[in-house]
């Protein structure tokens, strides 16, 4: 009881010593006075009494120390005093402290932000029980219908059933996603991503709906029309109304009963908004469009599962296929892991630079403090105590940097998440939490130890007598030069990387799409289940409706968007020839006005017109890829084609340019009028005058009025679709550029500091030289030279490092090689120029020096 109380009191005293210390002083003084009184009473002189009292009392300092030991914990008390001393020292060197803290704060902050993203996306296990057991199953080999020349990693239902029996799997499910229109009483029909599943997907994942239930085995077996909604869809579309469970919604016009609602951010695939069982017909369909998820047996490995299903795949009906399993998490992040790794690398390099900066600053101050340390050493401070003192300073610096860093980190993370492509997995989860705080703190303390220990060891060793003799300004140490050199090299690597990414992004932006994308709006027209009449007539009405909206230049309907080069494949044959053309063409039904609207040039012949109606002779337009690849460059206009499904011959009346969205190569295409090739749905394409965003609302409203049953929720600028292609590159570019700029700044600070120290250290020598008649220019060069050497070597190493590291950017680079001369050459030039300016600024006092005054002051 008394013991515990005492521990507590000692702790308090160690942290807050002043009251007890003052009390002790007072008590000792009183004690001595009482002793003196006694001795005087015994007849001693005042002087003798004074002395005798102190003898009787014993060592006063010793008593103080013993008291201190007894009332507090000595180590804690020491630590407190070291900390207080460190604060004083840091405050005295305010500029250096601010620079160091700022350096660290930026380094730590940006790192924390990037680390949060990397951690959430790449490292953290998926939010399902035993997530390491979850795998995706892939097959490869001949694609749809077993046709040679096509590759597909998806499965048919028979594969799924076969693989599902593998001994390595405990549970499995398959799904396929598609965009469908969801409607219900009281809500606007809207497009949703529908996942149709076979097998118990939710049980495989180990997650169950938050409200209602999942699918039972009868519903799954019979493919009944029941759905489970994703949480965000339930919130957004049904305002989180729990009564929706049990009610009926329509999907593409067919009624479905809602049986459950998933918990927030649960369910697979991540973009699915509605799940429903696959129907028997859909299961029997031999198209390769299923994706398989499985849960491994507890003792099974991914490798074992892969081996097992590979055997099953070879034994299957079309035995040329191969199959393998892959961790679900790795599959989901495979597109982004390269980019994130690059960002993480950039962040680490920047942190390294800021550590180097802090180490240099602490080290530089260490040079000044060699004599202080020497004196303290001579007075009996142990080496451990001196080291402790220096460590305290750097830890304090690191801690301050870390605290500010986390503030910077919060802000940087918000910016990062805002910039990140929406396709980034788990984007909405990303936040700084205890785990990231913990790691950040650990990293910060490690940084503090690292930057404090090196100069600390050196200084505490230098307790010989030499340093005591006089305060000497020493030249920056070799270590510090190496630090700055490393900074310059790292900054060059980062700048080169940012340069490469910028060139790549430029390329993507400047890419010729083959059509003018900037002033285009597109919207899917999903007619299935919501429209039952003549689709051609509806398209005409919608085009007319769009044209009446102010700001609209033109409108057309096509089966696909010009951003997609893949589509329905149609075998074609030239009339009168025996063999079909070497490969099928992509069929692209369009309305007249499509080329004008999309901005695709007609290079020969004519475009479609209103006269190309159903009873009129069949016409088609081909693209230049068709002419080159299928006709061998022959003049196309006037040729006549036949297609297996269509009896009457088709005349080619025109040739148009290729579409090359994001630089993709176009396939041979056959454009046909929708009048002659009816389609059950498609895309509305609208060309605007000026910014398409300005008319988006008006256009959507007008279209809703024209066709109230159609979902018009995805009318959006086509540029957004193209932007999605380059979102990851843009993200990586922006973030890397930020890091490069920071690295540049920090290394310039390093260069400036180094030169300034050099000038300070050699000031006397320079003054003598100037007094002896050396020119100022020569003297200037003398102090600049060491820095110039560091800069040059640093730049050289940086370029080598960039050449070595650039291939890691691989998948992010488009239209630019990893050894691009522009990016690799510009980085050292930029850094060298700014570095030289910084060094010159630091050395400019040499040019203004008055040697006589300098010498007198010494």
């Amino acid at each position: 009881m008394g013991g515990l109380r005492r521990v507590f009191r000692r702790l308090i005293n160690a942290i807050h010593p002043y009251r007890e210390e003052a009390d002790l002083e007072r008590e000792i003084a009183s004690h001595l006075r009482l002793l003196e009184d006694e001795y005087r009473r015994r007849g001693l002189s005042a002087e003798d009494a004074y002395r005798a009292a102190r003898v009787a009392f014993g060592g006063i300092d010793q008593a103080r120390e013993l008291h201190r030991d007894a009332r507090a914990f000595r180590w804690l008390d020491d630590a407190r005093r070291d900390a207080a001393y460190a604060v004083r020292i840091l405050r005295r060197h305010r500029a250096a402290t601010c620079a160091a803290v700022l350096s660290l704060a930026l380094g730590v902050g940006l790192n924390a932000a990037v680390f949060s993203v990397v951690d959430w996306v790449l490292v953290r296990p998926l939010p399902y029980p035993a997530p390491h057991e979850l795998v995706r199953v892939f097959t490869t080999g001949p694609g749809a219908g077993g046709r040679p020349g096509t590759l597909s990693q998806a499965l048919i239902h028979d594969d799924f059933v076969a693989f599902g029996n593998a001994g390595a799997f405990r549970a499995s499910a398959a799904f396929t996603t598609a965009t469908r229109v969801l409607a219900s009483a009281g809500i606007d029909p809207a497009h949703v991503v529908l996942a149709r599943v076979s097998g118990d997907l939710f049980a495989t994942l180990g997650v169950s709906p938050a409200a209602g239930r999942g699918f039972n085995s009868e519903e799954l077996a019979a493919g009944e029309p029941v759905v489970v909604l994703a949480h965000h869809l339930w919130q957004r579309t049904f305002s989180g109304d729990p009564a929706i469970v049990g009610r009926t919604v329509t999907i593409d016009g067919a009624p479905h009963r809602v049986v459950g609602i998933m918990p927030p951010r649960r369910g697979y695939p991540a973009d699915a908004e509605v799940w429903k069982p696959l129907t028997a017909d859909e299961r029997a369909d031999g198209d390769r469009e299923l994706h398989m998820v499985a849960r491994l047996q507890r003792e099974a490995s991914v490798a074992r599962a892969s081996a097992e299903i590979a055997t099953l795949a070879r034994r299957g009906p079309n035995g040329t296929r191969d199959a393998w399993a892959e961790s679900l998490q790795r599959t989901d992040v495979s597109d982004v892991s390269a980019a994130l790794t690059v960002l993480f690398g950039a962040a680490m390099l920047t942190l390294l630079i800021s550590c180097v900066n802090v180490a240099a600053l602490v080290g530089a101050r260490g040079d000044d403090r060699a004599s202080e340390m020497a004196i303290r050493g001579a007075l009996g401070a142990t080496r451990a105590r001196l080291l402790e003192q220096l460590l305290f300073e750097s830890l304090l610096l690191a801690l301050a940097g870390g605290v500010f860093g986390l503030l910077v980190g919060r802000w940087a993370l918000a910016a990062l998440v805002a910039l990140a492509p929406v396709s980034l997995p788990r984007l909405e989860d990303i936040a700084i939490d205890g785990r990231i705080l913990g790691i950040g703190l650990a990293a910060t303390l490690l940084t503090g130890l690292a930057v404090g220990l090196a100069p600390g060891l050196r200084l505490s060793r230098a307790t010989g007598t030499t340093a005591v003799r006089g305060h000497r300004v020493t030249s920056p140490s070799r270590a510090r030069r190496a630090f700055v050199l490393a900074q310059v090299a790292i900054a060059v690597i980062l700048t080169a990387g940012a340069g490469l990414l910028t060139r790549s992004l430029q390329h993507l932006i400047a890419t010729d799409h083959g059509f003018a994308a900037d002033e285009l709006v597109s919207g899917p027209l999903s007619l299935r289940g919501s429209f039952d009449g003549d689709s051609g007539k509806l398209f005409g009405e919608l085009i007319e409706a769009a044209r009446t909206v102010p700001g609209v230049a033109n409108a057309a309907v096509s089966m696909g968007l010009p951003t997609q080069v893949i589509g329905l494949r149609a075998p074609v044959q030239l009339l009168g020839e025996v063999d079909p053309l070497p490969s099928p063409a992509t069929l692209r039904p369009i309305t007249p006005g499509y080329f004008e609207t999309a901005g695709i040039p007609v290079v020969a012949g004519r475009a479609f017109s209103a006269l190309d109606t159903k009873p009129a002779p069949r016409v088609a337009i081909v693209n230049t890829a068709f002419v080159r690849e299928l006709l061998g460059g022959r003049a196309a206009v006037g040729l006549r084609l036949t297609r297996p499904s269509i009896a009457a011959p088709t005349s080619i009346v025109g040739v148009v340019g290729n579409v090359t969205p994001a630089g993709e190569a176009d396939r041979p295409a056959l454009y046909v009028p929708v009048e002659q090739q009816p389609i059950g749905g498609g895309q509305l394409l609208v060309r605007t005058h000026g910014d398409p965003r300005a008319i988006l609302a008006a256009l959507t409203n007008r279209l809703r009025t024209a066709a109230p049953n159609l979902a018009m929720d995805r009318v959006r600028p086509l540029a957004d679709t193209l932007e999605a292609h380059r979102a990851m590159t843009r993200f990586a570019t922006q973030v890397t550029a930020t890091f490069a700029a920071l690295a540049l700044l920090l290394s310039i600070v390093g260069v400036y500091g180094l030169t300034a120290s050099d000038v300070g250290a050699r000031w006397q020598e320079i003054a003598v030289r100037l007094a002896l008649g050396a020119s100022k220019g020569r003297a200037f060069w003398t102090v600049i030279r060491p820095c110039a050497i560091v800069l040059t070597i640093g730049m050289g190493l940086g370029v080598l490092g960039a050449l070595w590291a650039a291939p890691a950017l691989g998948s992010l680079l488009h239209g630019v090689g990893p050894t691009d001369v522009w990016a690799l050459g510009l980085a050292p030039i930029v850094l060298g120029t700014i570095g030289a300016i910084a060094a010159a600024l630091a050395a400019r006092r040499v040019l203004q020096a008055d040697p006589a005054a300098t010498l007198r002051s010494e």
Partner: protein, 116 residues
């Protein structure tokens, strides 16, 4: 009071706290100098005591809550910190004395008979 001649002993570790407590129990509230004077008087010069060494003992006892200090004025009109034994202190003293007695009895027995 200065030392002279006779053989003098250092205290066994831990016993000073006990002696201080005992002194306070007998004498009532007392300042450090008073405690020191009393101990030296009772020890009759057989004890070597730097008065300053009382302070760690006092702070230990106070932190355990066994004594309590308060600033007062002496008869000679000097200020001094007077320590008084507390109720837990009295209880602890009884326990500690009993323990001390037991262990010193034991040590005595061992030293006089045990080794023989």
């Amino acid at each position: 009071m200065p030392p002279s001649g006779a053989e003098r002993t250092d205290l066994l570790p831990g016993t000073l706290d006990l002696i201080v407590l005992r002194t306070l129990e007998t004498m009532g509230p007392q300042h450090a100098y008073g405690i020191a004077a009393r101990i030296e008087q009772v020890a009759n010069q057989a004890l070597r005591l730097n008065q300053g060494t009382l302070y760690p003992a006092l702070v230990r006892l106070e932190q355990k809550g066994w004594i309590k200090g308060a600033w007062q004025t002496t008869e000679s009109n000097r200020e001094a910190k007077y320590y008084a034994i507390t109720r837990p202190g009295t209880r602890a003293l009884a326990e500690q004395v009993a323990r001390w007695q037991r262990s010193s009895d034991l040590v005595n027995r061992m030293l006089t008979k045990g080794a023989g």
